[in-house]
Every structure is written in C-alpha cells, then in structure tokens.
Symmetry: C2
Subunit: 287 residues, 2 copies
C-alpha cells in the first residue's frame, strides 16, 4: 500500500486505472471503515482511502482540536482491509490561502445534524466534492451510520451531475449494540457499554412497530422510555423519517422509514440510526 500526500502523486498513481473505489474518512479507522474498504476492494481495481480531518465540517466549540488521530494505526487497518492507497492531504493542500468556495445543501441538509451543527454539511459536501474530483472514483463508500450525511452526499452528487456511484454500507456495532465511531475513543470501556443506550432505544422503537404500533409518536415513546434509564444522556433529537428525511404521523411506508437519534453522553456527542424494519438477514431469523 502507498501512502500519498500530494494530489499530483495521487494523479500519477491512478492514471490508467480502470476503476477506483474511494473510502473518504477522517481517520482513526475502525471495523466500520474496514468493512467499507473490503467492499470497495471487491468492486474496484484500486481502493483509495482518504484520511483527512476536515476543519470545514467542525463548528466552533466542536472537537476539531482533540479529534483522535493515529496514522500508523490507520495504515495498518487500511492495508489489512485491502486498500492500495492511503491519501493523506494536508490542510494547506486542501484549503490553500485564498480558498473561497463552499457547497451548500438545503433539503436533506436541513434539520437534525444540519440544525444541531450549522455549517457541518456544507463542510462535508465541500470536502467530499474535492475528494471526488481529486480521486475521480467510479464508486465512493459511506457508512449508513451517518445517515443524513449519506443523503446529503447523494443529493450533491446528483445535483452537480457527478459521475460516481455512492455506495452505502451497513453500520458496524459493538456486541453491546453501540454503533462504531471514531468518537467512541472519547469514552471509557464502561462508558461505551452505557452508550449502547442509543441502539437499545432504537431497538425498542422497532419492537413497538413489530407489535403493531403505527403512530410515530408512540413508536418514539418506546425509545424515549429506554433513554430514561440513562440519566447522563441528553437527547438532541429522536425522530422517525421517510427517505427524504421528512417526519410523519403514521407509518404508511415502513420499508423506507428510518429511526434517527442524537444526543450527548459523558460530554461526547453520539448519533445512531436504524431502519424501522430490519431486513430478515440482519435480524438473524428473529422475525
């Protein structure tokens, strides 16, 4: 595997390659990232993993300064999962003096993370567009963990006529249910165990639906009841949305309904999401 910092070296390395798969990350790679890389490896001749902690997508007072970084670890994880290139551009390369362009997204970018983190999705959209233009992949891989981000990236690439497939990959979880996230590094082992309350809450909502509940409010109440068990948790939002991230009162299209949750636990902001109805395979026969 090659470690590449400069766009020109990247360009030279990728010239003549028939299909590139891009896995854009902010580093501190975990099994979720590894699953994206493995999928990209199957579907493309060459896999590029970008590691770039993008200052544009952090708000003032957010965790840009302390965001976890470990390049040797990232090299190992990326290599083991089958990546060919680890692309690690500097902030100066990505945002040189005079940089003046931002990609703004309304629609799927409004509400939820967009409301809680002003400018966040503009930062995401801008850096993703830059990375797509630098790498020119046939496919780019994103985790479902950041569900709204996925919707934003799909919207931007469609709206701006980019010739790339956006591939969504399922969220990876700890045995407790906690969704894997680089930010879990902020938590102790015991705190991570307790952070599984987000996933447990969403599971409770799924169960309410399976038991016949069709009113959104009542389905979400089932999740809220679980959240009450963790006094340290502060809820930011908990919602049931359709494929356009629109809320609704009653479930009429369960196949596209998604549960979203965000909040703070032990000073760390955590998000998670699940389909209202799990596919059979993911349930391991529990239906």
């Amino acid at each position: 595997m090659k470690l590449i910092e400069s766009p020109s070296e990247l360009h030279a390395t990728l010239s003549g390659v028939s299909s590139v798969g891009l896995v854009p990350t902010m580093g501190y790679l975990h099994d979720g990232h590894a699953s994206l890389i493995r999928r990209a490896r199957i579907e493309n001749e060459v896999v590029v993993v970008s590691v770039f902690v993008n200052p544009l997508q952090f708000g003032r007072g957010e965790d840009l300064g302390r965001y976890p970084r470990d390049l040797p670890h990232d090299l190992r994880v990326a290599q083991d999962a089958g990546a060919h290139v680890l692309f690690t551009p500097s902030v100066e390369t990505m945002y040189p003096v005079g940089f003046a362009t931002r990609v703004e997204v309304t629609g799927p970018g409004d509400g939820f993370e967009g409301a809680s983190r002003p400018g966040h999705f503009s930062g995401v959209a801008t850096v993703v567009l830059k990375l797509l233009n630098l790498v020119k992949p046939a496919r780019a891989y994103f985790g479902e963990k950041d569900w709204q981000q996925l919707a934003v990236v799909r919207r931007v690439t469609t709206d701006l006529n980019l010739d790339v497939d956006i591939v969504a990959c399922p969220t990876m979880r700890e045995p407790s249910g906690l969704a894997l996230s680089s930010r879990n590094a902020y938590l102790t082992a015991e705190q991570r165990e307790r952070a599984s309350v987000l996933a447990s809450a969403l599971r409770a909502a799924q169960k309410a639906y399976r038991r016949g509940e069709r009113r959104s409010a009542a389905i979400l109440d089932a999740a809220r009841l679980v959240l009450l068990s963790e006094r340290e948790f502060t809820l930011d939002y908990l919602s049931l949305v359709d494929e356009h991230l629109g809320e609704f009162e009653r479930v009429t299209n369960p196949a596209s309904a998604r549960l979203l949750i965000a909040g703070r636990l032990f000073g760390v902001r955590l998000i998670d999401n699940m389909p209202l109805v799990e596919e059979v395979s993911a349930l391991g026969g529990r239906t």
Copy 2:
C-alpha cells in the same frame, strides 16, 4: 453539428473523444461567442456549445423572463464557428424537483457584480460546475467581458480541484467600442451607439495612465468625466482593481490592473472592463 438536449445522449456522443472544449453560453450568440468557439475548435477534438438561460443566476426583478432567445440563430452561429454539439438542456433537466445544492463563492465573488446582483455568482458557479461535470471538457472558454465571472470560475474550479483549463478570450466590440453582449439586443441601434460611452470612459482612464497619472482616483476621474456626457447613464460602479479584484490607491502593478464599470442605460444594465494597459498588439501600434 448535433443538437442535443439530454445528458445521456451527450454522454454517448462524447464517449471516446480525446479532448472536448466547452463554450458555456446563455444563447443569443454573437461574434464574441463565435470567437470562443473558433478558439475551442483549434484546441480540441470536439467543441460543445451549451445554450442554457440559467434561472439560478438571475435575481428577482432581473430580466430572466425577457432574456433574448433564438435557437435557430444560435445553431447557425455555432455551426459556422465550427462547433460539433449544441447542448440545450431544459430547466427541468438541470434543476429537477428536489434540487438543493448551491455553490457559494466569497473572495472574487464579493463586491461589484456580487454586490449588485446577490446570488448571481452562486448561480453562475453552480451551473458552470454542473456543465463541467456533464461535458467533462479538457478546456472551458469564457469571455473577458465578464471579468469577475472569469475570476469566480477560476476560483471555483481551483478550489474544487476540477481538472479543466479555464481559457479566457478577449472581449469583442462593435466599431463604436461597445462590448458585444446578448443584452445589447435590448437597445436600438442609436442606443447601442450611445452605449459605447462605457468603453469610451475606460479608454479615457487608460489614456490618463499613459499620460503619467498613477493615482487610482484621478485615473477613474478621467473616466467619470466621459460618463457625464451621457445623461441617461446611471453608474453602478467604476473601479480599478488588481488580479484579486482588490482596489488600490496608486498603480504599482500596471500589468495586472483592470478597469471595471457597470451601470444602467435606457433601462438596460451594461458592464465592461479593460486592462489599464492594453497589450501592444491590441492597440494596433498606438503605444
């Protein structure tokens, strides 16, 4: 020459072409556009001229509804100048229901047209990015007539890492000096003659510099004096700027100094610009 409306037909037509030159226009083609097409024809295997009156770059109360259109005329001009494809996407194709992305540009997009026409450059940047992604040209051609637009397009393509050469082509003028513009169609022949006052004013500023004046204010006063001769003209801005569109008090870098002007005449908004110092060839030996 082929007339193409759909992105998929465009894609099929351009597949396997070694180099495409794009000339993005809002139609109602004139000799200025023809000069871009001829230049593109020399430098590329295939030349695509896009004709799209982009609603996103018109402000409320601007002339979107009455912007001149004449497709048969555009077909003739493009064909005569050597274009291979006239790409005429519909508004619904470019901005389908749910479209939610805007490219915003500060820096060169601030001030002048950016101040007079809020949202204008965001509209320009967004549509240019879409067209560049649809056509994937090696080179895209823009007239110097829209000087600030050129700076904005360069900024956006650099900032977003697009692999395209932005080629600037000199402004074409009527014998009176009036810069060619599709909006000149709003003027009668006599009004067009009087509209040459913008170019005359800029020429007077150039002359003041040639005579030794180095203070911006005094150079611009020479232009203002000429503008006084046309009582119907309302000045929007008149400025002397550097390559970053920054104003300055004294000329220290004449090679990159540019005169910008905008205003209204007979209800029509007109813009023009010239270098402070004309290149020798353009002056026809007048230095």
